[in-house]
């Protein structure tokens, strides 16, 4: 479908020149903060977390740089196949999970543990962007035209819910909703969906797993069971709150160093920062994330192609959702949802997914002048 003219090919030098180096530095800064916090959380040790994280981050950074050079039209071309493969893998892990018992969410490739639900976050953004990129504004108004993208969203969401992974499903729905919205889907259609969700919520409650129900009730009454489900969030608040204005100092957070803080290297790593660097550190990190989002917005708004706009917006929104859900969770603002803090939490798959996303974002920035017609043919 897509035919690229020679004139539109950018040389490697051009691409490196067009690369958004500010964003790259920001990403490296965030990754560095992550490694430092993992070093502290490990008791001022490179093991068990800081060193593997650093290795993966450096590797992921390389992958990100390579992806940043890939032409945006390649993404457009492979959007559906990529989505299809991820959907297939989700089905595979679902079946394997049933065979292997328990909630298995990954495929061990030997050198790399592939978690399809993670990569699906990118695949879905690409697929939806491609779909809406190909629609005219009038067509978006037709309800029938919304059926394919809805199915695109609901299929992976359903599979992820079966795993069960409420956090990722929520993230997929919210990011997709945002893409629907900026693509021009009418306000009232969102209202209808919200009303419907409200209507079936009590029904859905019965289908939640006990641990999921417990998370919700714990959120409502965290101190009711301080040594059980409420323990994590209570200790998290104690750790964060005791950090005060300037924190206890690097490596001196008693809550994290003395194991009171659970999951301090993964979902609760923001709290390690908050405890050791106080309000200054916590808001400083939020500011860096805000800066990253601003870069994302700038890329989305300056992209000449609608596909590029939608992908950049979708990825930025996903990134925002990671940050918001994680920080809101560890501060006890929303129920406990297992979402890592992007680029900082320990974990290979999430790190890879995020750096791939960043690569795409950088690629859109590099190829911001590339125009692509609705039908996929590039224009100048």
């Amino acid at each position: 479908m897509t035919r690229l003219s020679a004139a539109e090919h950018l040389g490697l030098g051009d691409k490196l020149r067009l690369l958004n180096w500010g964003l790259v530095l920001l990403i490296i800064a965030l990754g560095g903060i992550g490694v430092a916090l993992l070093y502290s959380a490990g008791g001022q040790n490179w093991r068990p977390w800081a060193l593997p994280q650093l290795t993966r981050f450096v590797a992921g950074l390389g992958l990100m740089m390579v992806l940043a050079l890939v032409d945006i039209r390649v993404w457009l071309r492979i959007a559906y196949p990529f989505y299809g493969v991820m959907l297939f893998l989700l089905v595979v892990v679902e079946i394997m999970g049933h065979v292997g018992m328990g909630a298995q969410r990954w495929i061990n490739l030997g050198f790399f543990v592939l978690q399809p639900s993670e990569l699906m976050k990118i695949a879905l953004v690409l697929a939806l962007s491609k779909y809406f990129h190909g629609l005219e504004l009038d067509e978006i108004g037709r309800p029938a035209m919304l059926v394919p993208p809805l199915l695109m969203v609901l299929a992976p969401v359903g599979l992820v819910l079966l795993q069960p992974n409420l956090g990722t499903a929520t993230l997929l729905i919210l990011a997709s909703g945002a893409i629907f919205f900026v693509s021009g889907v009418r306000w009232w259609k969102f209202v209808i969906v919200l009303v419907m969700v409200a209507a079936i919520a009590p029904l859905a409650w019965h289908h939640l797993h006990d641990y999921q129900k417990a998370r919700l009730t714990t959120f409502m009454h965290p101190s009711a069971d301080p040594l059980g489900n409420g323990y994590n969030i209570l200790q998290s608040k104690i750790a964060l709150g005791s950090g005060g204005m300037f924190g206890k100092g690097f490596g001196l957070g008693t809550q994290s160093q003395l194991q009171f803080l659970p999951e301090k290297h993964t979902d609760f790593i923001f709290v390690v920062l908050g405890e050791e660097f106080g309000l200054v550190g916590a808001l400083g990190l939020l500011a860096l994330y805000f800066l990253l989002l601003a870069y994302g917005y700038m890329i989305a708004l300056t992209s000449r192609s609608h596909f590029g706009q939608l992908v950049a917006f979708g990825l930025t929104t996903s990134f925002f959702l990671y940050v918001f859900v994680n920080v809101a969770m560890v501060t006890g603002t929303i129920p406990v949802v297992g979402i890592p803090l992007p680029l900082i939490s320990y974990g290979g798959t999430a790190m890879m997914t995020l750096l791939i996303g960043c690569g795409l974002l950088l690629g859109i920035s590099v190829h911001r002048e590339v125009r692509i017609s609705r039908t996929g043919i590039s224009e100048l």
Binding site: K237, I238, L240, G241, M245, L279, L286, F324
Partner: protein, 610 residues
């Protein structure tokens, strides 16, 4: 392209709208973080400190108990014990099996350990076995690899070097029972803490105990200690010096060794300082240090000779003829005793249609007061008591210290009993009979006294009528604990002098019942009064056939042998009471013991020690 640019404008508009929402949500997070870290920062700082800081109490070393010359009587000895660190125990049963290979554990040990582990807060170690032998320590140390979660700790245990001879006096220490736990005394909850259960250990527990120290520990979420933050050393308990002379105490113990069951109190007539306090047989208080075994407990508890009872303080006996000193003073006080006055003793005294027998078959003949006392003539004292009346006798007994606690600093002191009209009516619901006055006069019937009371009365007679009180503890730390000034009993000095003369005759005149027990060295001679207390009724039929000799009776039916006395006669310093349970005659059994003890006191110059 206009439609596409319109699409792009819509995108921009809506993306900015959502961007605004994101900024709003980020602000919400920032506000939330501010609220937690700054607005509520103090609260969470406190909670974080409570999380990490744990206060562990440190046992204070218990004060030692020393005798009057500073010889240690109760000390703390290092011991080794094996404990479990609950947090590190993985398979309890397996671990206990492994320990059992070197240190035998009973099923009840295992149950207790299981219970302690479940109740533990992970902070305090759980005791598995105390008082390990060196071999056990060595074996456990060698096999530490199989014993992960177990640890060997050094601690202190109470030890009593003079075991048996000091058992009743010092008492012993034991574990704190559930009912003894007290919020105001947090040290009681320290695992393995011991408190005084009897004797001086109990009476002076507060002084001996000291104050617990504490250590502030930083712990992690699993309760494992990370480091020590601060330490307040415990205040050791104060050493206590008892007035006992361990040399004299052991001499008394040895002197009583051939007797079945006996009690002796030796005290200073002026200060009340108790120099020896022995209840025979004794027991080994070290048995109680680790909790006494069932077998030992049964053996001690079922013994007729009551080794666990401190007979000197908690035992009550009919005082027998020693009570005649009370009758004498009561009669003198009432002006009814004419020293030269004579009474004829035909071997009995008739009151109404009842005949009251004198102990001497055939009688003493004509006796005056000195002779009556020296020969312990019952008839003389029947007459004296009949004329004096129970009321005066009861009053004098009370003034001298019978029927009430002496106030010695020992737990469980018995009161004894001095009967009277009101007591008889209240307790027997029958009026007092004149004959009962006669029975009381010779220390039989209802009247009961402790060996401690008997010694105290002897001391009060010897010191010229001062209400001296027996005292065991001489010093607490460096502070003097002995009282030295005593109120007067209000007795006429000449009455007391006459009584002392009569008591001297008991020992030093040939007619005296205890003449056989007079000291070889005249300067060390004693004065006193014998007593032989019947513990069974002698029937008329038996009396007609001739009273069975004591030696022919079963031990439990033989008479108690008693003696009270003081020495030296010229300037009394030491008072003594001797009670030999079922020992037969006071003159032949108790008096020689008293003599030996009083001579030893003077030879050792006990009062001059320390």
């Amino acid at each position: 392209m206009s439609r596409d640019s319109e699409r792009s404008r819509l995108f921009t508009r809506r993306a900015v709208l959502i961007g605004g929402a994101k900024i709003g949500l980020f602000s919400l997070l920032a506000g939330r973080i501010y609220y937690l870290q700054v607005a509520q920062g103090d609260k969470y700082r406190t909670l974080a400190e409570e999380n990490r800081i744990n206060l562990r109490l440190i046992s204070p070393p218990r004060g030692q108990i020393l005798d009057r010359s500073g010889t240690p009587l109760a000390i703390n000895q290092q011991n080794y014990r094996v404990v479990l660190l609950p947090e590190q125990v993985e398979k309890l049963d397996l671990l206990l099996d492994n320990i059992n290979a070197y240190v035998p554990l009973t099923d009840s040990d295992r149950r207790r350990i299981g219970r302690d582990i479940r109740n533990s807060n992970n902070l305090n170690a759980v005791l598995v076995h105390d008082n390990l032998t060196w071999d056990q320590v060595a074996a456990l140390s060698l096999h530490t690899l199989d014993l992960s979660g177990a640890d060997i700790e050094a601690g202190e245990v109470r030890s009593y070097p003079y075991a048996e001879s000091m058992a009743h006096l010092l008492g012993y220490v034991g574990a704190v029972s559930q009912t003894e736990l007290d919020e105001d005394q947090p040290e009681l909850a320290i695992p393995g803490f011991r408190i005084g259960k009897s004797g001086v250990e109990r009476q002076y527990d507060a002084q001996l105990r000291g104050e617990a120290g504490n250590v502030q520990l930083e712990v992690n979420a699993h309760g494992r200690v990370v480091r020590e933050l601060a330490r307040n050393e415990p205040t050791p308990g104060r050493d206590i010096t008892v007035s006992i002379d361990v040399g004299l105490q052991q001499m008394v113990q040895n002197r009583l060794a051939e007797e079945e069951s006996a009690a002796v109190v030796v005290m200073d007539v002026h200060t009340g300082a108790v120099y020896a306090l022995v209840s025979h047989p004794g027991f080994d208080p070290n048995l109680f240090t680790y909790g006494i075994g069932r077998q030992d407990w049964d053996r001690l508890n079922n013994d007729d000779r009551t080794p666990l009872l401190n007979k000197a303080v908690d035992g009550v006996y009919a005082p027998g003829s020693t009570f005649k000193v009370v009758v004498s003073l009561a009669a003198m006080d009432a002006g009814l005793l004419e020293p030269k006055g004579r009474v004829f003793c035909p071997g009995y005294y008739e009151l109404g249609d009842h005949r009251f027998h004198c102990w001497k078959h055939g009688g003493h003949g004509s006796v005056n007061f000195i002779e009556g006392m020296a020969g312990s003539c019952d008839t003389y004292f029947y007459d004296l008591a009949h004329r004096t009346g129970i009321d005066r006798i009861q009053t004098m007994a009370g003034r001298l210290g019978f029927g009430q606690k002496t106030g010695i600093d020992m737990p469980h002191e018995k009161t004894g009993l001095v009967p009277g009209r009101a007591w008889k009516m209240a307790n027997r619901n029958v009026a007092w009979q004149p004959g009962e006055t006669l029975v009381t006069a010779i220390g039989q019937g209802y009247v009961l006294a402790t060996p401690l009371q008997l010694a105290t009365v002897a001391a009060r007679i010897a010191n010229g009528g001062k209400a001296v009180r027996p005292q065991v503890v001489a010093r607490i730390g460096a502070d003097e604990a002995l009282s030295t000034s005593w109120p007067s009993l209000g007795l006429e000095p000449k009455h007391l002098a006459l009584l002392r003369e009569a008591m001297s005759a008991v020992v030093n005149e040939q007619i005296g019942t205890a003449y056989g027990a007079h000291a070889q060295d005249a300067a060390m001679t004693m004065a006193g009064k014998t007593g032989t207390a019947q513990v069974r009724r002698i029937s008329t039929a038996e009396r007609a056939e001739g009273v069975t000799a004591n030696d022919d009776l079963p031990w439990k039916e033989r008479d108690h042998a008693l003696f009270i006395g003081f020495a030296p006669v010229s300037n009394p310093r030491y008072a003594v009471s001797v009670v030999v349970e079922h020992g037969g005659s006071g003159a032949h059994k108790a008096a020689p013991i008293a003599r030996d003890i009083l001579v030893e006191c003077q030879k050792r110059n006990v009062a001059g020690i320390g």
